[in-house]
């Protein structure tokens, strides 16, 4: 692994071994990933890419998406509200313009996040992506409204999640990770449905609903009103849901939601995560990734434990 870790641990091969983890079909050199929509190649100007076990790209849809009107961001006392509206260039442009660059530049597995508004749209997209080289796996973003089903988000209905996953796993042999929304009554049932459908891993959480209003003027800080809430303030929720899902499924969990440092990462690993992602933290601290991986590596070395030894071993 990268120079960055060797610098700290004096070429210690042990730390490197302790950090490896498995996310479904992927063997990762570190348990650290980046959350879809919060990270891109530009961030590699700030640190050594070897920190990352895999790279998750921003969610794409079949057609280009303009995204939501501004303002799209507001920082609260303990997190961030965003309302990007899945702005993206669409599947074609992704495959012809972004993917070749990723193939060229990325030194770690690429996980492509995508979303659709009908099951067949998801399937078509996956078929097209399967025809392209350089993709190690998929993160399926099911938080888009389902046009076949009264606009209810895919991710809130276990039957739809089951059916969607079943259809998708028929198309690909690569890593198939379903990304769950926290804004549901019973995330464990949805997680179990994804597992039953054939998902090889789960990612959680996507953003919580959040809102902020200018107390002087009464104006919503976000143009669309309600946005997605992420960062430090959502950590207790993300951790609770990670634990719930870990109790309900056997497939690996990629956990995220308010992870800012290695201590946070450990909480999620104890709760049952096989890997973790940095999202909002990338904005708050450009060096969040290397600092996390160094702290985690040092902790593992000092306790002589691997990710696997700690995973899910929370004591209740």
């Amino acid at each position: 692994m990268g120079a960055i870790l060797n610098d700290i641990w004096g070429n210690s091969i042990n730390a490197v071994k302790l950090l490896t983890t498995r996310l479904g079909k992927l063997e990762l050199s570190t348990p650290l990933l980046v959350a879809s929509g919060t990270f891109d190649l530009e961030n590699f100007e700030f640190f050594d890419p070897a920190c990352l076990g895999a790279f998750v790209s921003k969610t794409i849809t079949r057609e280009p998406k303009k995204g939501n009107p501004p303002p799209r961001l507001y920082e609260t006392e303990a997190g961030l509200i965003n309302s990007i509206g899945l702005q993206n260039p669409g599947l074609d442009k992704f495959i012809h313009e972004k993917l070749p660059v990723y193939r060229d530049k990325l030194s770690m597995p690429l996980i492509v996040s995508f979303s659709g508004s009908t099951i067949s749209e998801f399937c078509q997209m996956l078929e097209t992506l399967e025809a392209s080289a350089g993709i190690a796996g998929y993160e399926v973003n099911v938080s888009c409204p389902n046009v076949e089903n009264e606009g209810i988000a895919f991710g809130t209905d276990p039957d739809i999640v089951f059916e969607l996953t079943r259809r998708l796993q028929e198309i690909t042999d690569k890593e198939l990770c379903i990304k769950l929304s926290p804004n549901v009554t019973d995330i464990a049932t949805i997680a179990a449905a994804a597992e039953a459908g054939g998902a090889s891993s789960l990612a959680l959480i996507n953003s919580l609903w959040g809102m902020a209003i200018d107390y002087r003027t009464g104006k919503s800080k976000i143009k669309k009103g309600i946005g997605g809430y992420t960062g430090c303030g959502v950590k207790p929720v993300a951790l609770a849901l990670t634990y719930k899902v870990a109790q309900a499924v056997r497939i690996p969990i990629l956990a995220m939601g308010g992870i800012y440092n290695w201590q946070d990462a450990l909480e999620f690993i104890w709760a049952g995560a096989s890997a973790i992602s940095l999202g909002t933290a990338n904005f708050i601290n450009p060096l969040a990734a290397p600092e996390l991986i160094m702290g985690l590596g040092e902790y593992l070395l000092s306790t002589k434990k691997s990710i696997n030894d700690l995973k899910g071993k929370v004591e209740i």
């Binding site: 929509g37 700030f46 303009k66 965003n82 990007i84 430090c232 904005f283 450009p286």
Partner: protein, 261 residues
């Protein structure tokens, strides 16, 4: 240095302009060589995530601040205290550490042999200061600046204040059409609050004058990855959301779709 870099730099000097405005100076030759007028940095008073554990203080986002001056590596940021982030910056003194991400964005196009009007409002002043130094020897420049009151105005050719405490009373764009005509302006550069920029765009579009307008936006990443700073840019029938931090902050006034803000 094509992409924004992350640096921690000591503050060399802090200059007090008034209760609300101050300048922070740092020194970095490589960053100095990379920066262009209209570009900005995402900056912050040094915050550590370690604070989360020890003080339970949650670090916050960086804030976009224009390059106000750049003397071959002596880089200045002129800042107005308006909220949390800028107040944290205002507590910094010489010797304290500044975190920087940048230079960000594309900056102003630079021409020669033009009749240029600079128009700025409030905290739109700093990027135009750096710009006019680049333009001054090769163009004819007239700079108008406006603000709420005496504290919000700085050296230029024509000063306006809303309270009339200094210079002309009113908004800096009140007489704009006449000024453009009188000075036979062919190129306008602007920076300032949205309301002002919108009016300036309307006027220059009507007169069909070249106009480069530096927009503001709330930012998260500052480097083009989050799409949080989007503004509608393009033709009325074929526009997209462009990123103020990457394709901007400077846009061609004709392309800014104000009706969609």
């Amino acid at each position: 240095m094509n992409s924004p870099q992350y640096r921690q730099r000591a503050i060399q000097l802090r200059e007090e302009l008034s209760d609300e405005y101050f300048i922070l100076w740092i020194w970095d030759e490589a960053l100095g060589a990379a920066g262009k007028p209209g570009q900005f940095y995402e900056i912050r008073a040094l915050s550590s995530l370690a604070n989360l554990q020890t003080f339970h203080a949650i670090p916050k986002l960086f804030k976009p601040i224009s390059i106000y001056d750049n003397q071959g590596g002596r880089i200045g940021f002129m800042i107005k205290k308006v909220g949390t982030g800028t107040n944290a910056l205002s507590r910094l003194r010489a010797g304290d550490t500044l975190e920087l991400i940048g230079p960000c964005g594309t900056g102003f196009p630079v021409f020669r042999g033009r009749r240029i009007l600079l128009i700025s409002g409030g905290i739109g002043y700093p990027p135009l200061w750096y710009l006019q130094k680049e333009l001054i020897n090769h163009n004819q420049i007239y700079w108008m600046h406006g603000g709420g009151g005496q504290a919000d105005v700085f050296p230029c050719d024509e000063i306006w204040t809303e309270d009339g405490s200094i210079g002309r009373k009113g908004r800096v764009c009140d007489n704009l059409e006449e000024t453009i005509t009188k000075h036979e302006v062919d190129t306008v550069y602007s920076c300032g609050p949205q309301g002002l920029l919108r009016t300036v765009c309307e006027i220059t579009n009507k007169l069909d004058i070249e106009h480069y307008c530096s927009l503001e936006a709330y930012m998260a990443c500052g480097i083009g990855v989050c799409h949080g700073c989007a503004v509608p840019i393009g033709h009325p029938e074929d526009w997209t959301f462009k990123r103020v931090c990457k394709e901007g902050p400077v846009f061609n006034a004709k392309e800014i779709r104000w009706e969609l803000f």
